[in-house]
Subunit: 516 residues, 2 copies
């Protein structure tokens, strides 16, 4: 006997098209995903310490359910039927895009055996703890067997997914759909020597930027007010979002109408919180900008992590660390912190916020050196996955690249090869998206400046609505309908290009450091 | 073809007993319930205003999934098989109790047609808005058709569930398992005249208690510190819980290791926040006290809403509003608020916190009059469900009972028949549990005082661990293994009894008001 609930469904389903049923299914999966995201947010913002184990169980159940629902045979059939129903529709249409996006994800997810996914989940859960211990003890050897195990698992996952060119393609694809390793290599190869040269020129310029003013005393409750203020001014909508505090700043989204950002405070470092907020608000405004009718569909999402990062970097760097923005906002900061900023000029603050200096830790790197940190990781990941790395010598490999690109050598593995959480979590193929984001942001920025010709003046007056409207129209409105290479072409009429990025850096830091 | 995930499951299941599989199923359902509870907590504590619609969708999907999973045919079969497997086990055993509890819930849930559940959900969602509007406009007529509709739906739900004696039994059962309307009637009939008499005696005593000191200025940030402090002192564990702020104080629990309470602040009312916190902490310590191995099972939960309320009331009233507690804690309050409490004595504060005065609003009522508010609602609900109420005259019925029990007449329907949220949400059968909680707390309290003979002295020294340990052992350790009538008998050796409650009130308020 069917239960009443199921009898009711059976009576209802035949009236709907496969596409409609597919949308209903994906809506349910999307809602479960949103619920899991709320749990993740709470875990990082408010959860009491003793609840960690229970929360892990709850999240595991949610993930399992989502995975089961998404990879079910029924879903596969629905996708096939819906694909037939939407065959003649334009590529750009919402329905054709929806089916295209789901189909690709479904095929990737179902190719990997469940046992392998379970092995990945279990291994990375354990490995994460071991990485924490290893980093704390500055003991790479302790982590090495786990890293080897994880790389082996990721390699098998990549093999299961399949690839045409390089194995690393299969790992990058979930983060940067359609992007090929060879394309990233070509781009990175073009910018690496340029970045190394800029760093060298800056060093040789003899110009010393004093950033000590950012490390004066900045009361945390005032920083909290300022970070909410700045997010609000640039366009983050607090009616459909909020900002909290977490150990690591992040943005998460439960719906277009519910986007959360976090920041962190250090009483002795002002720009840490302010620019982290602008960065996360950039992600968040992307999430707040998806069309309403994408809600509950897989189209509600950024085109790629690179595109997402383009939005965060643009608001953090092209806007936040720009001269016009600092001319606009520095007086607000000065009024809030008269003791610490009363004797500081706009120029001093601008230069301090843009100090370039090779350093060991990626997340603390400036606009110029950041890309070199990424390239180093990209290169090592590729080699590891391709089986070309002797794990015994990985720290030396890391250190020699640091020396080559940045001219500095890590004082410890904790500040070197062990510094990032990604590998211990099985996240390989993600790093390049950070730098692709920088490139995309520069390419978009060049175009925006061509279309909003008085953008600097607008920013200087605290007007961000035209900029945001441009991003809404050209970037946000598409959600993840198009793969990133397609989207950048559609928007700018050109493929992804490293020139705008290099021009931007040369121009900005050339002025600050009096080079070229 | 089966998907990999399902192939793996099929290979695994035959090795497990039905009981084990049932536990696995209920664990999954429990985790989904926890996730939904996190969403509910966030909704009331942090969610941005614009997210309401999306959150409602997410919660609806979660509820639907939980309901589907719980009422599936497969679940029915597993329960039957597990019942056979546990047949010979002792009634008190965890496994027998687990099957017993699930079986009862399953049978109740599956008896109600899905269409009727859907009608209830839809109608109450709309009715809630109408109730808000009606209360705001003080317009009972506006809400009346909705109330009639809801009562009709609840009556049909009760009929579907079935009952032996009175129809109201079927509505009370989910909240107070096994409790019969006739039992509640007998108890309430015994205490009603006594309460009316105490209220009258207090009025006639001529003693005036001045509670204006509670309405002086109490800075909210200091109240926040005090409410965290008091919760911590009485035994609420902040390692496995936290306190936030919400419009209406509540307690919610995602796991034994993750229990959240909320309170609210009014700068001009101190005891509102302090006693609300103690009340919610009482609920929370029950939730923090379940055995670890109940986690993820349906046994993790209070025996009934009445039992839950017995814990909150005990910590709020028998402890918090007692003379020994106020002797202990008033100096802390005085030190925190020297301007407002510097000239106040312990005695003044104790009397102010225990002022008895008939008032219109249930949630603001004191210990003595509270029960009369409940009885009024219980009587009206019973009559409505039995079809013996003319809805045109409901406000007059309400007002005449207020006059009869409390000697006051509501100045408006907003402060009368429209004041509570329950009916608009389809919650009928819940109200009596508040008063049952008062009775249970008094009956337990009497026993505790017999066993911990120096309890007053312990409280006066701020020692609550023996009291909490007693509750852990005798109440919390059982979760919801036993129905409330069974549990009170097991603990106290007697059925639920109104005498301890009446003795407690007579003794406490007799002293304060110099009566009898």
């Amino acid at each position: 006997m069917l239960s009443p609930r199921r009898r009711w469904q059976v009576g209802k389903l035949p009236l709907m098209s496969a596409l409609e049923r597919l949308k209903e299914r994906t809506r349910e999966i999307s809602h479960l995903g949103s619920a899991a995201a709320v749990l993740g947010w709470d875990q990082q913002c408010y959860m009491p310490p003793g609840a960690a184990a229970a929360r892990a169980d709850h999240l595991a159940t949610m993930s399992k359910l989502i995975h089961e629902k998404f990879t079910s045979d029924e879903m596969g059939k629905l996708i096939e039927e819906a694909a037939r129903e939407t065959e003649g529709m334009p590529f750009e249409s919402d329905d054709a895009s929806l089916v295209r996006v789901i189909k690709k994800d479904f095929e990737r997810e179902t190719k990997v055996p469940t046992e392998l996914v379970a092995e990945e989940t279990k291994t990375t859960a354990l490995a994460h703890e071991e990485w924490v211990a290893a980093r704390k003890a500055n003991n790479y050897k302790h982590f090495q067997p786990w890293l080897e195990k994880i790389v082996d698992i990721e390699r098998r996952i990549a093999e299961a997914r399949g690839y045409k060119d390089q194995i690393y393609d299969a790992l990058m694809d979930p983060f940067e759909p359609g992007m090929k390793t060879s394309e990233v290599e070509a781009i990175f190869d073009a910018i690496r020597p340029e970045l190394v040269q800029i760093v060298k020129d800056i060093k040789d310029s003899g110009v010393e930027v004093d950033s000590s003013i950012l490390h004066r005393k900045y009361a945390i409750d005032k920083q909290r007010e300022i970070t909410n203020d700045v997010a609000s001014r640039i366009g983050f909508d607090f009616k459909t979002g909020r900002q909290d505090e977490a150990a690591h700043p992040f943005c998460t989204s439960f719906a277009t109408s519910d986007v959360r950002i976090t920041t962190r405070f250090d009483e002795n470092f002002l720009s840490g919180s302010v620019f982290a907020t602008m960065h996360e608000a950039g992600h968040a405004m992307y999430e707040q900008g998806f069309p309403e009718h994408f809600e509950g569909t897989p189209l509600r999402g950024g085109a790629s992590l690179g595109f997402h990062e383009s939005q965060s970097r643009m608001w953090e760097n092209q806007v936040g660390r720009s001269r016009p923005f600092i001319e606009y906002y520095f007086p607000v900061l000065q009024e809030k912190f008269p003791e610490s900023l009363g004797d500081v000029s706009v120029d001093q603050f601008y230069r301090a916020a843009n100090k370039v200096e090779p350093s060991l830790i990626r997340v603390e790197a400036d606009e110029v050196t950041y890309g070199l940190h990424i390239m180093l990781r990209f290169e090592l990941e590729k080699e590891m996955i391709a089986g070309r790395v002797d794990f015994n010598t990985l720290p030396e490999l890391w250190n020699s690249k640091m020396e080559e690109y940045l001219g500095i050598t890590p004082d410890s593995d904790a500040n070197g090869v062990l510094q990032d959480v990604h590998w211990s979590s099985g996240i390989i193929g993600y790093f390049p998206t950070y730098q692709l984001g920088n490139l995309i942001s520069a390419q978009l920025w060049e175009m925006i400046r061509g279309e909003i010709t008085d953008l600097d003046d607008q920013i200087r007056r605290g007007e961000f609505s035209n900029l945001l409207a441009w991003l809404r129209k050209h970037v946000h409105a598409h959600g993840c309908k198009f793969e990133p290479a397609d989207l950048i072409q559609r928007i700018t009429g050109k493929p992804l290009d490293s020139k705008p990025y290099l021009t931007y850096l040369r121009s900005k830091f050339g002025t600050i450091y009096g080079i070229k």
